[in-house]
């Protein structure tokens, strides 16, 4: 048993390296249901993802998930959060990074993982979050003339008009 947040030596080592690299950009870690979630400041996101890919073997981006925390998210929480599921296949490790959007923007990680290209477009389409540095940020599912962002909690299921 190791004394990091997860109790698993390999995952704790990855977390410790990330914490050492990112310093106070790491806002906390939660280990639940066998999964480690690390909250990060948005500004340190690209560097953290690149570090995990280059130094810790997290070569694959499995998915990016946008979250709307509701129009009134509460103390210290941003409205939108994006989760990054990274996978280290050699060690069979998964890690989830969570970054709150500042305003409605986040830095794009397309430079590190090409797989993020369409995932970021999807989050833009569904939530209206902008990804700074994305080469071609436009809607992917809906018509360009569609107004609104459907996965926001205040968007009605049947649409408007």
């Amino acid at each position: 048993m190791s004394d990091g947040p997860t109790g698993r030596p390999d995952l704790d080592a990855a977390y410790a390296a990330l914490a050492a690299h990112a310093g106070d950009a790491v806002l906390g870690a939660v280990f639940a249901k066998g999964e480690l979630t690390v909250r990060l400041r948005a500004a340190a996101l690209v560097a953290a993802v690149a570090f995990l890919k280059a130094e810790r073997g997290f070569a694959a981006l499995s998915d990016m998930i946008g979250l709307d925390n509701g129009p009134a998210p509460g103390e210290g929480r941003a409205r939108f959060t994006v989760l990054y599921q990274l996978y280290n296949r050699d060690a069979r490790l998964r890690i989830r990074l969570a970054a709150d959007a500042e305003g409605e923007a986040l830095p794009s990680i397309v430079g590190v993982h090409k797989a993020a290209d369409w995932a970021e477009r999807e989050i833009f389409d569904m939530f209206g979050l902008r990804f700074e540095g994305h080469p071609d940020l436009r809607r992917i599912y809906l018509d360009p003339s569609f107004e609104g962002h459907p996965l926001r909690k205040d968007f009605p299921l049947q649409g408007r008009g």
Binding site: D143, L157, Q158, G159, R160
Partner: protein
């Protein structure tokens, strides 16, 4: 589609009608246009076991200009609706439309912001086949119903302008 005239049909024209509708209903050329899951059942109906060819429907055409039956197989989204309309307009007369599957009939299980609640909102539909997806037997039943519908029409009314 031609209308039944108010009075009785001349004998010869009914025979011509019967001949034309016999030819039409036994040689539909469906447009090869599957939208979603129902398309797979449509292809299975065209494959070996259910063999749509024995009804004469074998020749799926890729181009709408050569097709006379538009089987709308799958969910029609708002983004896809103008394209469905354009495909329908590109088909030459006489043409028929079958809405296959619950999504094409009425939007199916998707009452959402992006799904058209039934393809009959953009094109006129002749036969509705319900199911999610309809089994190949269900689709064949719909096709036979369409054949019966065609057999009851009077193409000579259009040819000889016998309706108002």
């Amino acid at each position: 589609m031609s209308k039944r005239p108010p009075g009785p049909q001349p004998f010869l024209l009914t025979k011509v009608d019967r001949f034309i509708t016999w030819a039409q209903k036994n040689s539909f050329w469906p447009l090869g246009s599957g939208l979603a899951c129902c398309a797979i059942e449509m292809i299975a109906t065209a494959a070996g076991r259910y063999d749509i060819a024995r009804f004469g429907f074998e020749l799926f055409r890729a181009s709408p200009r050569q097709a006379d039956l538009f089987i709308v197989a799958g969910t029609v989204t708002n983004k896809m609706a103008p394209i469905v309309r354009r495909l329908y307009e590109q088909m030459p007369e006489p043409k028929w439309v079958m809405a296959m599957g619950n999504c094409a009939v009425c939007g199916g299980p998707f009452p959402t912001y992006s799904v058209l609640q039934g393809v009959d909102k953009v094109i006129p539909v002749d036969v509705y086949v319900a199911g999610c997806p309809p089994t190949p037997e269900g689709l064949l039943h719909g096709l036979i119903t369409l054949q019966e519908k065609v057999a009851a029409t009077h193409p000579t009314n259009v040819m000889f302008k016998r309706h108002e």
